[in-house]
Symmetry: none
Subunit: 232 residues, 2 copies
DNA sequence: AAGGTTCTTGACGGAACCTTGACGTTCCCG
DNA sequence: CGGGAACGTCAAGGTTCCGTCAAGAACCTT
């Protein structure tokens, strides 16, 4: 919740106060508007990570305001509707007008907080870690890229998958069977192609560099780690 | 709901059937797993736009599976928990483990559908009609226009759709399967017309310019990136 | 009904990839 | 120490995948 900036649009003074205090106590900074006229101004002048929006407001209602945000201002900040209206049609309208979530009063403050966090996390693309890293070796699953010491490595698809598994399990040792099963399922090749793939993987990952990262434990499996334990 | 592909993980046969039929009737294609073991396999082999995940499952529970998706596989598909557990702590745990939404059984099917749509809309960057931009390439969804370096490109409708998908996923790699499914749903052409469309797309987007933006990763998929560095 | 655009199909050459097998080396355990 | 199993190295064959292109089918518009 750190460093979130949130706009709360709600005309009930009491509820607004409660929500505001809770969120600020969690580290967010919250601006408050009691109607959409003020909200309109705030939204044009400041950036908010998320908006909490009541449906029943004096003057323009929340649905309409949300739609205005999306269509006219082209703002894509997450919007959470907060309202006492619990009928299905109300919820459907909320989503239809461009809302991201819909929470019915009375709600538990921690739940509101959790939903806010989830939306912001997604907005910021923090849902998953984007790279795996072992020492100076980095693997980016989304881009299908591997770098060591900053430079891009060329790997075949299978080599990439093997490296991904080893890095995911690091520093654990991965057995040959586990690797083969994960790569090919029940259709494991007759003669062990895995050896060739590991050879090619090594050629790309370790050969051009000083220290080897990829280790073999004969009869046990393979591992990738920064400090290859040397036998006692 | 057009051409969504959804993975439903739920052990109650009856409920699964109901949800599945409803979503398919809305135009989604739904794969079904009764446990996380099967779900694990499916998730590694196919792309899904979203996952519906029960919490109480035989063997591994849904929370744990979701966390595994995020941490180990680095998959960022939206996850909606579906469960009868309505206690606050359960919900908090769902979000804490990487869930995007949490819906309590029994729920109205249209609400589930609305929440699914809202999540996918956000994932696909369709909340607003803002232009997508990668380097000097701009795509305006509202006007159905594409420009590179300021000049208007002439694209066929399908080429436009492909480019839009690649741009919104950038810099992620999009598999051939994902592209085909989103373009044609269950009616994918026999022989791969996708190749021709990509060829034409390249001819329009890359051919007249200095650097290519559209990259092929053989056996993996396609991506569009500002800096298509090649290894050695 | 005609004309244009778009989509699909099929063929071809080439590149990338996976598998296989051979051979030498290392490791483990009797 | 010696033999067998496991491993590293490497090249070659076959397969899959991809870029290219043109022709015909389907579609839409007028």
């Amino acid at each position: 919740m750190k460093n979130l900036s949130i706009l709360l649009v709600e005309d009930h003074r009491q509820l607004a106060q409660t929500v505001l205090e809770y969120l600020e106590q969690e580290g967010a900074s919250v601006d408050y508007a009691g109607n959409t006229r003020l909200a309109r101004e705030l939204v044009q002048e400041h950036h908010y990570d998320l908006m909490l929006l009541d449906v029943m407001l004096p003057g323009e209602d929340g649905y309409s305001f949300c739609q205005y945000l999306r269509k006219e201002l082209a703002l894509d900040m997450p919007v959470v509707f907060m309202t006492a209206r619990d009928q299905l049609e109300d919820k459907l309208e909320g989503f239809d007008r461009g809302g991201d979530d819909y929470i019915v009063k009375p709600f538990a403050l921690p739940e509101l907080s959790a939903r806010v966090t989830a939306l912001v996390r997604r907005q910021r693309k923090e849902v998953t870690a984007n790279t795996l890293q072992i020492a100076d070796l980095e693997l980016d699953p989304a881009r299908q890229e591997v770098r060591r010491d900053g430079q891009l490595l060329k790997l075949s698809p299978t080599a990439f998958r093997i490296l991904r598994i080893l890095m995911r399990e690091s520093p654990k040792v991965v057995s040959r069977e586990q690797l083969e099963h994960e790569l090919w399922g029940d259709l494991v090749p007759d003669s062990d192609a895995l050896r060739s793939h590991l050879y090619n993987l090594r050629k790309a990952v370790d050969k051009p560099f000083e220290h080897a990262l990829l280790n073999t434990l004969p009869g046990v499996g393979f591992s990738i780690q920064a400090t290859p334990e040397t036998a006692q």
